[in-house]
Amino acid sequence: MNCRKVMNLISAYIDGELTGAEMLAIRRHLSECSECTREYESLRGLKEAMSRLRTVVPRKDLAAAVVAKIEEQQFTRTHRFGTWAARLTFAKLSPVTAALAVFGAALVLLTAGGMEGFNPDISGNQTAFLSQTHQVSFLSEISLPHVEFQFSKPLVVTSAAQTSFSPEVQFASFNR
């Protein structure tokens, strides 16, 4: 092993973080090379001095202050999220489970959003109602005046003369 390699590995040698073969090779090199030995002694001395630094002591009530701070933050967070379910979702579940929970919530919201236009009470203004409906193409072949279908809602049959619907017409049957 040459000097350059030894110089690069000298810190790891001091820390005993090399393979057995590397440790032996460096030890052998150090026994023959004064320059590398000086570097070794210098860095080893630095490490020893660092390990002899005194332990710095905190103020006596630091642990109590830390605990109090955590209590304070916990109280704030509890109030922010409100329920145990929210805490469970955001603090106790794994990231994957939490992501699934958020995805599920989003799905429910989206599904509910799709029903926004649905109003079972259609006995009011027919024109307004018809403007929100879509004609189903295959039903145009049936000799009914108007067959209207709105998304997944009940099939509704209207006549040109009709201005309002009875509940039976809305949900159950065709009407000519």
Binding site: D15, E17, L43, G45, S51, L53, P58, R59, V66, I70
Partner: protein, 192 residues
């Protein structure tokens, strides 16, 4: 719902009790490391507090089969880097800045009780010079040297604490020590 509430509260209470015991057990060790990172008592205290608060927030992710202090060091490293980014260098406090207490201002450093009077002065002086040099090191080198030489962590543990690999730790430690030695030049001859 009431049962779920009770279970959640019980778990939380148990977590809190366990965590408070950990704070009590490790706060001095954490503070010592924080001081060596930050270089002054006020920042060390902020760093220690923030590290424990963050640790509590993610306590459910702590693997009980690993040493708590190693996990805390990982959090502390992140808090320290965040702190340096947030705080303008001009606002970093001086190493010698006195600390305000109920009895007025004082230096909180305590002499080593195991040393004699003469040694105390020499040790204190050496301590301050090393700390002053540490403060000038780039943060990743500083963290690596502190974990290796003050806390005695293995390269693998340092890699975990600083979110890097063993090769980088080896390189940072070697370069960090050489930088540190150069910054405390005169001191080197005293302890070789």
């Amino acid at each position: 719902m009431e049962i779920a509430d009770t279970v959640a509260e019980t778990v939380q209470r148990e977590d809190r009790r366990e965590f408070n015991a950990l704070v009590k057990r490790y706060h001095k060790q954490a503070y010592n490391v924080a001081y060596r990172m930050a270089g002054n008592h006020a920042d060390a205290e902020d760093l220690t507090q923030e590290a424990f608060i963050r640790a509590y927030r993610f306590f459910d992710q702590y693997r009980r089969d690993l040493p708590f202090e190693n996990w805390l060091y990982k959090i502390m490293s992140n808090v320290f880097i965040d702190m340096l980014r947030r705080k303008p260098k001009a606002k970093l406090r001086s190493l010698d800045e006195p600390i305000a207490t109920e009895d007025g201002e004082t230096q909180m450093d305590l002499p080593d009780p195991s040393s004699g009077p003469e040694e105390t002065v020499l040790s204190h002086d050496m301590d301050r010079r090393i700390q002053a040099a540490l403060n000038t090191l780039p943060e990743v080198f500083r963290l690596t040297v502190i974990y290796a030489d003050i806390e005695g962590l293995s390269y693998e543990e340092i890699a975990e604490a600083t979110n890097t690999n063993i090769g980088t730790v080896r390189s940072r430690l070697h370069r960090g020590r050489k930088l540190l030695r150069n910054r405390i030049q005169g001191l080197a001859s005293e302890f070789v």
